[in-house]
Amino acid sequence: MSEQVTYRDAVGAAIRDAMTADDRVFIMGEDVGRYGGTYAVTKGMIEDFGEDRVRDTPLSESGFTGAGIGAALGGMKPIVEIMTVNFSLLALDQILNTAATFRHMSGGQLNIPVVIRISTGAGRQLAAQHSHSLENWYAHIPGLKVLAPATVQDAYAMLRPALEDPDPVVIFEHVMLYGRTEALDKEATVDLSSAAVRRNGSDISLITYGGSLYKTLEAAEKLAEDGISAEVIDLRVLRPLDDATILKSVGKTRRAVIVDEGWKTGSLAAEVSARIMEGGFWSLDAPVGRVCSAEVPIPYPKHLEDAALPQVDRIIAAAKLALGR
């Protein structure tokens, strides 16, 4: 049942299938309609579903994100697309102060089943206002679920449970993943609570998510050439974190390196590291390592952008350091 598709088309197919299955589902955002989506995810959709359900919005991130939240409160199932995580900061008020709080603030009377898709990450030389990885800012917020599908399969399969979830779900799509082609089985399902072990290993756990997954897998390949068996965990659900999978892996390998495109200070990697400390300290044979982005706004020139981000060689070095090799 599987076919080869791009990540971009997998997301697009998931949206189309959801809109076909449920009249309440619609997508709204800047340039999702006539333009076809900044990353072409919604290309052709407006012709098939009309401009009510593929709704172009003005440049009003707070306004249209809040409108999506309101529409969810009013019984619709909106998918709000925000072009880039940097722009999502203009909508943060609505996401944090409205979407994430209403259930609690109303004593459980109200819930907001909105899905917000945000592209994230660096690698396209878009410089310091279009390249950041702020997933952890959202993963900090109780009341939200935060997803970072890294594979074509997850890009397709995670949207359905996200839309079925009664609470707000934020989905991060790393911009370097849109062009990747992989197998997709549309029938396979996924839950919104578990991390995935992408490669089995026994010497060290490499824990990552989103755009860093493929770099981490490549590092694991190279480590294997040196006789090091690395396990690779794709967190894919950033809130709530799947502690059990993380601790099980570390319990087995006794060493961990976390690869996270966010800035190191206050990063998701720091959170995962703390959880390993709290839940797996006595099984560790080495300090937990972190490979994160350098503490700098992402620079424009290719060589500096590359230098700012986690790369395969840095992952290998961090793994070897943990192994004392």
Partner: protein, 330 residues
């Protein structure tokens, strides 16, 4: 005046006048009690009183059906009460007790009632406007004939969310009634000290939204304007904007020493207060008698007393429930 316009005028029957009077007085007496309870430390945190502005919520709310939606601010006790949210649940919410409408989780600033389509209780200035736009969008997309009414202060007009929301509502021709409660001050900042254009309703007009300014101290005028507005919105004519010119008699919140305005100014406005004005008019015109008003006062005194008793008797939420209602129970 056409037959249709005549239909839209408030029908000032004796019963209707009793109702308007009762609604305004319920807010006034409830909030006077709340202020007293605040000094006794029964109510804590922020408490924003609506005293002086009662004609706005009362007048606007006359025109709504139970299916219509309401979005309000942190100064929303009055709106909740007129909407029919029980006074007991509102009072207990202000106490932070489990019998509160939101199980005490919200307090004075966050009154919600799903049953009454009362969506807060929003304490981010301007934050309720996008939400109202979305509720209206959902109604429009699902072909429901509902109107969403969004109340906010004139301070919100300086926020980006105000402008984004007005534009979206007009662009998509959504069934929203925006009601600006212009009480001339945002905390201590007078309108002219924060806006280059102080005529708020003109801003709405610039988005091609039908817009009018009304005397917010006159409940009949507010109701008349709201009837026109809601009829137009329900008719599919897109959003409508009412600027109700009013005044808050009390401090912004209980922490406000009111350094920014004079006592004389407040007294002047109190003299044209909405309750005083309406009761003078209905008694002079013979629609109501002094003993009608006394009877209402007696009913309300009892209702307020019952609400306080309810809140006092209501238990606190168990600390074990702390993490409840953050997400769906899994």
């Amino acid at each position: 005046m056409s037959a249709k316009d005549k239909d839209l005028r408030p029908h000032l029957t004796r019963d209707h006048c009793l109702d308007l009077m009762r609604n305004m007085l319920r807010i006034r007496r409830f909030e006077e009690k709340a202020a007293e309870l605040y000094t006794q430390e029964k109510i804590r945190g922020f408490l924003h009183l609506y005293i002086g502005e009662e004609a706005v919520a009362t007048g606007v709310m006359q025109t709504l059906t139970p299916e219509d939606a309401i979005v309000a601010t942190y100064r929303e006790h009055g709106h909740a009460l007129v909407r029919g949210v029980p006074m007991t649940g509102v009072m207990a919410e202000m106490y932070g007790k489990s019998g509160g409408v939101s199980k005490g989780r919200g307090g004075s600033m966050h009154i919600f009632s799903a049953e009454h389509r009362f969506y807060g209780g929003n304490a981010i200035v301007g934050g309720g406007l996008p939400l109202a736009v979305g509720l209206a969008l959902a109604d429009k997309m699902q072909n429901r004939p509902n109107v969403t009414v969004c109340f906010f202060g004139e301070g919100a007009a300086a926020e980006g969310e105000f402008h984004e929301s007005l534009n979206l509502a007009a662009l998509w021709q959504l069934p929203v009634l925006f009601v600006c409660e212009n009480n001339l001050y945002a905390m201590g900042t007078a309108l002219a000290r924060s806006e280059s254009e102080t005529d708020i309703h003109a801003k709405a007009a610039s988005y091609k939204i039908t817009s009018e300014a009304v005397d917010g101290m006159n409940v009949v005028d507010v109701e008349a304007a709201a009837r026109r507005a809601v009829a137009a919105v329900r008719d599919g004519k897109g959003p409508y904007f009412l600027e109700c010119r009013t005044y808050r008699f009390r401090a912004h919140s209980m922490f406000d020493p009111q350094l920014y305005r004079s006592k004389d100014e407040v007294t002047e406005w109190e003299e044209k207060g909405p309750i005083r004005r309406f009761s003078d008019w209905v008694t002079k015109s013979g629609l109501l008698h002094a003993d009608d008003i006394e009877a209402i006062e007696a009913d309300i005194a009892k209702e307020v007393e019952d609400a306080v008793a309810f809140a006092e008797a209501s238990p606190w939420e168990e600390v074990e429930t702390l993490l409840e209602d953050v997400g769906a129970a899994s």
